[in-house]
Symmetry: C2
Subunit: 405 residues, 2 copies
């Protein structure tokens, strides 16, 4: 336990050497890379489990290491409200607090203020809202977000942004993304810790011209990584993935690209095809708590009656603890009996499934077989036929990208 | 996965060699022993975690092994109703079903029919009740209990008994214990698996003469172990422990003695003083789910505000995962945030606390210092003064027991 004394550090902004991003292999727009962080090197593409309130629901840090997690996401909004960032800092930041010793990323709180705060009021200064916990009035600004994220001590921190809902007025998205740029500049100005990389977030909804405008304003800031925000908020996938493709191919080639809040297995495969390096989502743990298991054959509903008599594992190809030890019948019994071990084991399996999925994608990219691997995977996964948006994403991904840096 | 073909076995009843109980050391009435079972040797005194519905709530088999669990208890009542014993048998019994490879004990269902079944009707034949799950009418008899327990495949199975509530009419307890003996004989008659030891249960409530009557009828049956039932059902401890003492000293010296449904740390120490070898209780996991941690300083309420700022572990002496990795502040945060990891980690710690408690008792017995160890432990544990019932149990335990076999 130590209290980090980072207050005395010079405001040197970013230390790019500390966050080297090195591309190893390319296959179409898909690529594998290593991303160096102060707490270790991560291999991309990668998926980040979400530890909203300082724990990946039901899963221990040892298990996260065992299943191949590389970086954990923490939520600034939740942690600043409870237990408060000072207590986390008193533990030496999130690694000491949560006992997960590897790399962390924290979001800025912007997205969750929008989705969870009550009576939000957005001004140039920031956002004022009522806490969903006790109704108290809280203000989050770019400066406050960075202050909290420096106390939480993640390796990668995110610029404070506004993520407009879907659908939103075009004009509103346009004004919002301009304000988000001004907020980004304020984040850069107050940032002090050289051992944290600040990523900017490109907004613009599903509109190409607004995405272009956001890119034009954001890229010159030159952060060591860029996120694609404002997607996976309810828009159809045939609008989401063209926006991913448009944005990703205009991001710098030699910096990590992070598609926020994504996702489902098919979203990861399509995103990787389009050159995305980092993903995060509560989906694997949340759907696990609801009794669903992710497999190459699609999502298995453990609440249904069929698995109750099946003596095979959830997924014969999986090496997670649940698949090595339990039958579907046993796990379906636990689900039905509402035993705590059910959400725990299904969450663990689902996280491992997504980690294995990106591991297989990395291997295919390294072998130059990503397109055929993804096509084979999708034929088994999409029982009712591969959707057009997925095929288009793969097809776009096969086209060699123009160089942007 | 295999379906055990035990149906063809001869009805040879018990195989005593398979269940050898060897006393190593004595200290007053307290003793350490090894108890051989088909799935491995266990060291007594020992505490059994309860896996009611086929899982120790929230805890994996690997964790049970890691914290020193030696034998797990399964509940016949719950498992016969859901998922049904046939499915468990199709997994090769509880070890295959639950993936815990060590020894198991199953109760007979008798106690839980009384506490959970609706509209119970007790006759000489058995008990008819409405399932608490779906209201269906179910009959449990000595024959049916043994049939289910043979399918569940535990190493130790329990005779079907009636456990009268507290308080109950003296006359009723008397009639009930006589019927329980007749049920025991029916259990013995139908039992077929030599790889399962059947334990008889001594009843009689808190009445010495009824306990004596139950002993007189039960001991001649000569089962390879004996349980003390009908206690820890709501009676005051100054009535419970004299009944434990009276019964335990009249049980055979060279067979295991099991005090059912107990318990709290102080009950284990007092019970061990009186010569008890085996305990089980849902208390450590249940109180963990309610946010309490067991320690030598008493029960720590993690729902209170004090632990939220404490950077020390739950218990500095404990070697469980939670104590090696987490501060009280972190765990109190998880409790407050209703994170699944909180009940999981508190349950794990509490189980480890009871396992460490019996390990320390075993070490003290082996060194001949049990009385002083127990006195020292109790001075720290009972902040408000050691209760008389506890002191009397220790004092009785110090007196050398008369030999009964």
């Amino acid at each position: 336990m130590y209290l980090p004394s980072f207050k005395g550090l010079k405001r040197i902004g970013q230390n790019t050497e500390m966050f080297e991003f090195e591309i190893q292999r390319r296959d179409g727009r898909a690529r594998t890379a290593t991303f160096l962080t102060p707490r270790g090197e991560v291999k991309t593409p990668m998926f980040m489990p979400v530890g909203t309130q300082g724990s990946v629901k039901g899963i221990s840090p040892q298990e996260l290491s065992d299943i191949g997690s590389q970086m954990i996401l923490g939520n600034t909004y939740h942690l600043m409200l409870r237990p408060g960032e000072a207590l986390v800092a008193a533990h030496g930041g999130l690694p000491g607090f949560t006992a997960y010793p590897g790399p962390f990323l924290t979001d800025s709180g912007g997205f969750q203020v929008m989705s969870l705060g009550h009576m939000r009021k957005i001004t140039e200064e920031g956002v004022t809202f009522k806490s969903h916990l006790d109704g108290s009035l809280v203000t989050l600004t770019p400066e406050r977000s960075i202050e909290v994220q420096e106390a939480l001590g993640a390796d990668v921190i995110m610029a404070f942004d506004e993520c407009p809902p879907y659908p939103a007025e075009r004009d509103y998205i346009g004004r919002s993304l301009e304000r988000t740029i001004r907020w980004l500049e304020r984040c850069q100005t107050v940032k002090t810790r050289p051992d944290q990389a600040l990523f900017a977030i490109v907004q613009g909804g599903v509109h190409q011209d607004l995405r272009q405008r956001s890119l034009d304003l954001t890229l010159p800031v030159g952060t060591p990584g860029f996120a694609i925000g404002g997607l996976a908020v309810g828009e159809p996938k045939d609008q989401m993935f063209p926006a991913v493709a448009f944005t990703a191919e205009r991001l710098p080639e030699h910096k990590p690209r992070y598609l926020m809040g994504v996702g489902h297995p098919e979203d990861l495969v399509a995103g990787i095809a389009l050159g995305i390096d980092m993903f995060d989502c509560v989906y694997p743990t949340r759907t696990g708590r609801f009794g669903y298991a992710l497999t190459d054959d699609g999502r298995l509903n453990m609440n249904s009656s069929a698995p109750r008599r099946q003596l095979q594992p959830l997924d014969a190809d999986c090496d997670c603890y649940a698949c090595r030890h339990y039958t579907r019948a046993y796990l379906a019994h636990l689900v039905r009996a509402e035993e705590m071990l059910a959400p725990r084991m299904l969450s663990l399996h689902n996280l491992r499934y997504l980690h294995r999925l990106v591991e297989r994608a990395r291997a295919a990219i390294a072998e130059g077989t990503f397109q055929s691997w993804a096509a084979t995977w999708s034929q088994r996964y999409f029982k009712a036929g591969t959707p057009l948006w997925f095929e288009q994403a793969l097809s776009l991904g096969a086209q060699v990208q123009r160089t942007t840096d």
